[in-house]
Symmetry: D2
Subunit: 276 residues, 4 copies
C-alpha cells in the first residue's frame, strides 16, 4: 500500500503539494486515512519535468517525513509536471530501485496496489516483457513489472490501450494460476505532456483516487482563497487522498475508470482490461 500524487499546470514548487497542505503527502506518510496501511515509511520518490524532455528522479529508502534532502528539493525545485510517491512495501525490499516513480526514456510510472501472489506469477510476468526491455528492469517489485508490461503493450503509442492490455494480461495470467482477484491498482503514467491515471481492481474495490476540480471553477468558487487564485487555469492534481477538506475541491475517480489530463479538454472514461 502506498500513496501518490501527480500535478500538471504552471510550474509550482514541489513542496506546495508535497508539504504545505493540511493533509499533504508527507502527512499521509504518517497518517494515511483511506489506505490499507496508515504508515507509508518504506521509501519515497519524486519525478519531475523541467526544461528538457527527460524527467529527473529522486528516490530514497528513508521515510519521507524526516528526509531533509526531500524537503530541500521540494522547496528549491519547481516543475510544470511532477509525480510524488510514498511507499509501504508489500514484501519486496526497501531499496531505491523499488521506489516509485519508475522511468523509461521520457516516461514515468507509479502505482498503488499489488499483483496478488506475485511470487507465483513473477516468472511469467518477466517472460511477457519485451526481451529488449528486460535488462532495464532494476528492482524487484510487481509495480515495476507492470510498467514494463505496459511498455511492452504499446505505452508509447497508445497509453490507454496499453494499460488495458496490461491489466487484461495480468488478470488472465492470474486466472490461469487460480488466483482470486489478481490485480489491484491505482496507477499513473506520463510522458511529460499528458498524465494518464487509472483506478481498477479485479474485485471492483479499488484503491482510492481523486482528481482536483477544474482550476477555473475552483477560483470562482473561492475568490477569497489566495492560494487557489494563484493556480493556473490548467492546473490539475490527481491524488490517492484529498490534500485537504475544502468542499468541492476533490472528486472521486469512479471505480474502473481512467482519466487523461492533457492540454485542452481532460477526459474520464471507463477502464476495460483487454485480453489478447
Amino acid at each position: 500500500m502506498c500513496r501518490w500524487l501527480a500535478y500538471s499546470g504552471d510550474p509550482i514548487p514541489i513542496e506546495s503539494l508535497v508539504f504545505r497542505r493540511k493533509h499533504s503527502l508527507i502527512d499521509q506518510s504518517l497518517h494515511a486515512q483511506l489506505g490499507a496501511t496508515t504508515t507509508n515509511g518504506d521509501g519515497f520518490g519524486l519525478g519531475w519535468y523541467g526544461d528538457g524532455d527527460d524527467p529527473g528522479i529522486y528516490r530514497s529508502v528513508h521515510p519521507a517525513w524526516n528526509d531533509r534532502n526531500l524537503r530541500e528539493l521540494a522547496a528549491h525545485v519547481s516543475s510544470r509536471l511532477f509525480f510524488a510517491h510514498i511507499r509501504a512495501s508489500t514484501g519486496t525490499p526497501v531499496q531505491e530501485t523499488n521506489s516509485h516513480p519508475f522511468r523509461f526514456g521520457r516516461w514515468l510510472f507509479m502505482h498503488n496496489g499489488l499483483v496478488r501472489e506475485f511470487p507465483r506469477v513473477k516468472r511469467d510476468l518477466l517472460l511477457a516483457v519485451d526481451p529488449a526491455l528486460i535488462s532495464s528492469i532494476e528492482g524487484s517489485t510487481d509495480s515495476e513489472l507492470l510498467f514494463y508490461l505496459t511498455l511492452t503493450f504499446g505505452l508509447e503509442d497508445d497509453p490507454v490501450a496499453a494499460l488495458e492490455r496490461m491489466a487484461g494480461f495480468v488478470e488472465e495470467l492470474g486466472e490461469r494460476h487460480g488466483i482470486e482477484h489478481p490485480l489491484q491498482m491505482s496507477v499513473a503514467v506520463t510522458d511529460g505532456e499528458r498524465i494518464i491515471a487509472a483506478r481498477y481492481s479485479s474485485e471492483g474495490q479499488s484503491r482510492s483516487l481523486f482528481f482536483s476540480t477544474d482550476a477555473r471553477a475552483l477560483k470562482q468558487l473561492y475568490p477569497d482563497i489566495e492560494e487557489l487564485q494563484q493556480l493556473s487555469d490548467e492546473a490539475r492534481a490527481i491524488v490517492s487522498e484529498p490534500l485537504g477538506d475544502l468542499p468541492g475541491a476533490w472528486n472521486v475517480v469512479p471505480e474502473s475508470h481512467i482519466g487523461i489530463v492533457q492540454p485542452g479538454q481532460d477526459e474520464l472514461r471507463p477502464f476495460n482490461p483487454r485480453r489478447e
Copy 2:
C-alpha cells in the same frame, strides 16, 4: 518519543523479545499504544553484552520494521544482557550517532522523553559536561547529553545518585531559564552487570515503564506455557510497553521510581532529583 526494552538473564536470542512477541518492539515501531506518537520510525539501536566486558552496538537510521540487518542480528546473536531502542525524533536529525543506546566504555544508556526547550539550554548542558568527556559526544540529541551529564555526575561510582544529580541539574537549569517541566524521561543504564532504570518527569506524568514479574513466579503461574518455562530464574525485562497481555506478567514502574536489576535481589525505590 521512543520505545525501548532491556533484558537481563540467561542468554537468549535477541529476536525473542524484539520480534517474536505479540506486541514486540517491532510491532511498537508501527503501532505504539502508550506513547505520545504511534510511529517510531526514526532509526533504532541495539546494544548487547557477549564474552567480553564491552558491549557491541548496532545503530541504524532506518525504521526497525523493515530493516533486514536487524532481523539477521536479532536472530543470530544471543545475549545475557541487551538494550533495544526505537526512535521517534523530537527534532534532531535522524543519524546513527543520534540512535540509542549510547556507549561509553562498558556502559550503555538509552532514553525515552526529552529535555524541554532543548535548544535554549543546550549550551549550558554542554558546559556542565566534564571537559575530558566532551569530545566523546558524537551526536546532537538531548538524550546523549543526559548520558554525559550522568557520567560527569559519577555514573561509574554510584549510578542511582548520578542519575538523581543529573535530573536535579536539568531541572534547576530549566527553572533558571523559566522552562516549565524541564525533564521528561524513562531511562536505562547498564554496566553489563546491573540494569538501572528510572521513570521520572518534572510534571509527575512520566512516560510509561514496566518490569516483568519474577521469572520463578511466572513459571509457577503458567506451568503450561513452554516459552515461560524456558526462562532462567533471574530473567527480567524492563519495557516501555508490555510485550503481550498475559495477566500478571507485567508491572508498572510507579511514578518517580528507580529500579535496579542485579544478581541477587532486585530493588525498586523512589527517585529523588538532587540539586548541588
Copy 3:
C-alpha cells in the same frame, strides 16, 4: 571487481581477518593491489555460521572502511566459518540485495568477476533458472544469477559439478551471442561445512585467488608468532589477496582450479566447465 575472503576453523572473531591484518580486507577496500580497481567502496557483506544450520548475513551499501556497524559486528561476533566481501560495482546499483554473500537456505555464495555483456544475456540466464527458485532472486547482479544457476544445476547435491555446469552454461550461452570470454570469476560457496572455491575465466586469466598454508605447517614454520600459534590445526582461509606478506603463508590457486576446504583432507583439482 571485488575482493573477498572465506575462513573455516575454530571460532575466531571476524575482525581478526577483516580488520586486524596489515593488508586486511578493509585495507583492500581502499587499496587493493591485485584487482582491476583499487577502490572497492560499493557496499560489502558478511555471512557467518553460528550455532544453528543457517548463516546470518549483514549487508550494507556503505564503503566498508568507515562503516561502524561492520566494525562492531566484526569485533563482537565470532564464527567457525564466515565469508566477507567488498564490492566494486560493474554497473548494477549499489543496494543491499546486490551485496554478497547471497544466501539460499544454509548456502552462501560470493563472487569476484563478471558475466561479460550481462544485459544482452540476462534474460536467457533468468530463463535457465529453476522456475521454483526465480522469485527468490532479490537483486539485479550477474553474480546472484550465477548463484541461482548453480543451485539449478545441483549445488546442494554436488557442488563441484554444479559450478562446472554453471560455467559451461554461461560460456555456451555467451558463444551463442557471439561474446568473447563470457565468464570471469573467482567464486566461493559453502553449506556451513565445506567451502568450495573456484578460480576460472574463459580467457584463462582469472582474478587472483590464494589459500592459506596448512595451519600445522605454519605453526611449525613460525614457532614465535603468537597469532599463528593460536590458530586451530584445521584453520584455513581463502582470499582474493594475501592478508600480509609472511613468506610461505599464502599459495596461489592455479588457473582453472577448484579447491575444497572440508573436515579431513582438503582438495585442489582442475576446474572443467561442463556443457549439457
Copy 4:
C-alpha cells in the same frame, strides 16, 4: 582531506562541472591527484542558489561516484552559483550533518583541511561560538565549528575580516594547547552574491587551490572550443584541483591568499590571521 569546487556565472547545469570534465569532481572522488588521500568517499554535498535568496542543499553519506540521486540532481538543476564538496573524513562520523557545505541563512561554507588535535580543543572552540548560534550546530566536525566561529566573528558584515579573525583565534587557541600547526584549510564561503575563498595553513603549506582564468580571456585564447565559448563573461570556478589540463585555464591561489569572486572586478589579496 576533501575536494571541492565553487562556480559563479550564468546558470549552468551542475553536472557540467561535477561530472562532465576529464578530471571532474566525481573523478577526484576516486582518483584525487593533489590531495593527502586519493579516495574521497565519505559522503558529499551540493549547495546551490536558484530564484530565492536561500540556497538549497543536498547532502549524502554515500560516495559520490555511484550516487544516482546526485547524478539526477546535477543533470536536472541549473544554478548561477553553486558549491560541491566530496568528503574524506579525518575521524568524525560519516553522516549528512557532517557533509559540506554547511548553511546558515543565505550563507554556505565548505572546507578542506583540519583543525589539528581537534578533540583537545573542541570544547574551547564551542565556547567561543556566539551562544545564540550554538544550538544551530548539527554535526560534529571541526569544519562546521570553523563556520560558526566565522559567523561569530562577523561573517555577515565583513567576510574577509571574519575569516582572518577565525584563523587567528584557532591558531592562538592551538598555541595555548601547545599544538604545532593548528590550522590547515582551503575554505570557501558565499552569500549567493560573492564567493570568498582562502588558502591558508599555520605551516605555510596549504591544501591546493586554483581559480579559473577570466572567461573573456579564455574564450579569446581558445576560439575553437565550443564549451568555453558558451561560458558567460563573468563565469569563474574555484577548485581544489584543475578539472582538466588545458594550458592557461587554471591558476594557483598563492599560499596565504584570499580571493573574492564578485560582480565587477574580482580580487586576490594576502590572507593575514588576526588575533584579538
